[in-house]
Amino acid sequence: MSTSSPPSRRYSLPLRARLATTVGGAAGRASRLAGRGDGSVIGGVIGLRLKPDLLSLLARGRQVILVTGTNGKTTTTRLVTAALGAMGQQIASNAFGANMEAGLVAALAKAPDATLAVLEVDEKFMPAMLEKTGARVVVLLNLSRDQMDRAAEIWMLARRWRAALAAAPGCRVIANADDPLVAWAAGQARQVTWVAAGQRWHDDSWCCPNCGSHLRRDGEDWYCGECPNRRPPVRWVLAGDEVIDPTGRSRPLDLALPGRANRSNAVIAFAVAEVFGISATQAMGAVQQVRSVAGRYTQVERNGCALRLLLAKNPAGWLEALDILVPPPVPVLLAVNAQTPDGKDTSWLWDVDYRRLRGRPVFVTGERKLDLAVRLEADEVAFRMVGSVDEAIDVARSKSMEVIANYTAFQQIRATLGRVG
């Protein structure tokens, strides 16, 4: 580093914190070299052990944006980072989805000079991470059933979000007004940008989170019949394939990323950019160009077959993934595990409607392929169980194949394919 550059933020850290980030960074590099993960977490873990308040220290003096929700965290984090690129500043980000405290620490430690940080955070840890980072912006995407064996109840989660945001008056919340649980969670925040980002999955929000009565829906609108809780007026709108900005101007999104869910994430990214004075026009190009995120949506060539990798971790995610499948006869490979990060209860498979897979070649793999097989049998979807991606490719003899996998199954497939994307 040349002597004329501004003093690194890093040297404003107390000695012990500097030591903690240095040791942590070395451990991260060692972990990467040893081929164990991408090294982003281990460094943070070690750093935190040496200095438990490391995250607060690392966040000090930076503008932190936290992105949370059940689905779309990693992609939205990437889209927000792209949108803010117009500011021409270095941005710290946990771009590969390490979204607990150690991952946040590692991302900040790796970019000591970045004054902006876009950080994905696990929905269960958002309140604690908000407190520790003093975030300037919190993005709430959606809330639906996911890993229920760990999360217990979604409404409890919304309740904790609500309390945390009420206690952070300096924070601006960017929230999806179309998700009643999210809207309620943001309902006591001082500054909110409401976005009509849509909600494909309704089955966790038939109950008013405020009073427990039945929520009514009328097209896009929702309201409670018993208490004043209703959909707030929105500033940004996703309307089909277009975004409508606060001035009412509508323009096509035309993203490289597929699907409604990603259009929704993009509109949220524009709403975040607005907080930093960046218009949708300025942000559009960079947002449009994002084409794969931490291996998701990646096209991989394998033994003459072009695979497209889609991650879906829960019923809402599967709904969106099934929506963007290319039409038959292109075969589909489904992979399901039930390790701790996936949730150990596979009951959720029965919340997904697989009937639209009828009439095309379907392959089933993963550690819980039997659960999936029984599920498909009940939906009268013909399928074949296989031991691996390669076996599916061999049997299918197709030029292309769509792959939908849940979390650890997705990671395993990525590892097989050589950590692509």
Binding site: E153, W155, D204, W206, L370, A373
Partner: protein
């Protein structure tokens, strides 16, 4: 009474009427699976099936054969109980229970059919009183795979499922436990689930009837009489899944 149902059936197979109660509120743990499995196993026996999915703003019919209630979080559970109770004792689910229809309730639904369950802060909330059980809140959440041996009087093989609840359930006199826990938590006293007449409740998801086809056949048998066996080709996957899940629980305890 219920005993008459079979006898009054016309000679040809009449449809088994399945009623899924409030899937909008009580379907948090793949509860559709129980409905699909009952329908599938009935059809595999050549029994026609009629399905009514009744949302919470609709009226629950009283003339069903098997009623299903699923799992849900606190708020939907309380709302569902309130709506079902508001219908009164002479219509809908209560009327069906009164004439001996089969009721199969899981988790939050299991608690609702009892006389009382725990609300948001653990406070007692009145249930429907279709079976004499009371549920409250335990000290910690029971989360994980569960296996349990069914009351031998019911002739159903060992249950396998997944539980995720903080409920503790006590039975009144005349109510029997559905099963004895082998691994897992269940009712909290070493038993799992409860039954009285044709009202059955359990904490198992999985969903329960998917992983335990014997339990599904028990319910169907109560409605349709003796069932012919299912063609093994149509049962192979389910039996493999059962074996897979039971094996994942380690060697079964000596019986």
């Amino acid at each position: 009474m219920s005993e008459d149902l079979g006898r009054h059936r016309p000679s040809g197979p009449s449809a088994v009427r399945l009623v899924w109660v409030f899937p909008d509120l009580l379907s948090t743990y793949g509860d559709r699976g129980n409905l699909l499995v009952l329908a599938r196993r009935a059809r595999l026996r050549g029994l026609p099936v009629e399905i009514a999915e009744v949302n919470s703003d609709q009226r629950v019919p009283a003339d069903g054969d098997i009623y299903l209630l699923g799992g849900g979080e606190d708020l939907p559970q309380i709302l569902a109980a309130r709506r079902l109770a508001a219908a009164g004792p002479r219509v809908g689910l209560a009327a069906a229970a009164g004439r001996g229809a089969v009721i199969f309730a899981v988790c939050a639904g299991y608690q609702i059919i009892g006389t009382e369950f725990g609300g948001v802060e653990g406070e007692p909330v009145p249930g429907l009183g279709l079976i004499d059980i009371r549920s409250g809140r335990g000290e910690r959440r029971g989360v994980g795979e569960i296996t349990a041996d069914v009351d031998p009087a019911l002739g159903v093989e060992r249950l396998t499922g997944f539980e995720n609840h903080q409920g503790v359930t006590r039975r009144g006199p005349g109510v029997k436990p559905l099963a004895t826990v082998v691994t897992g938590v269940g009712n909290g006293d070493g038993t799992e689930g409860a039954y009285s007449g044709r009202v059955v409740g359990t904490y198992l998801h999985g969903p329960a009837l998917v992983r335990n086809p014997g339990l599904a056949d028990m319910l169907l048998g109560w409605v349709a009489g003796t069932l012919p066996p299912v063609d093994p080709r149509h049962e192979d996957l389910v039996l493999r899944l059962r074996a897979d899940r039971l094996a994942a629980q380690g060697p079964p305890r000596a019986q």
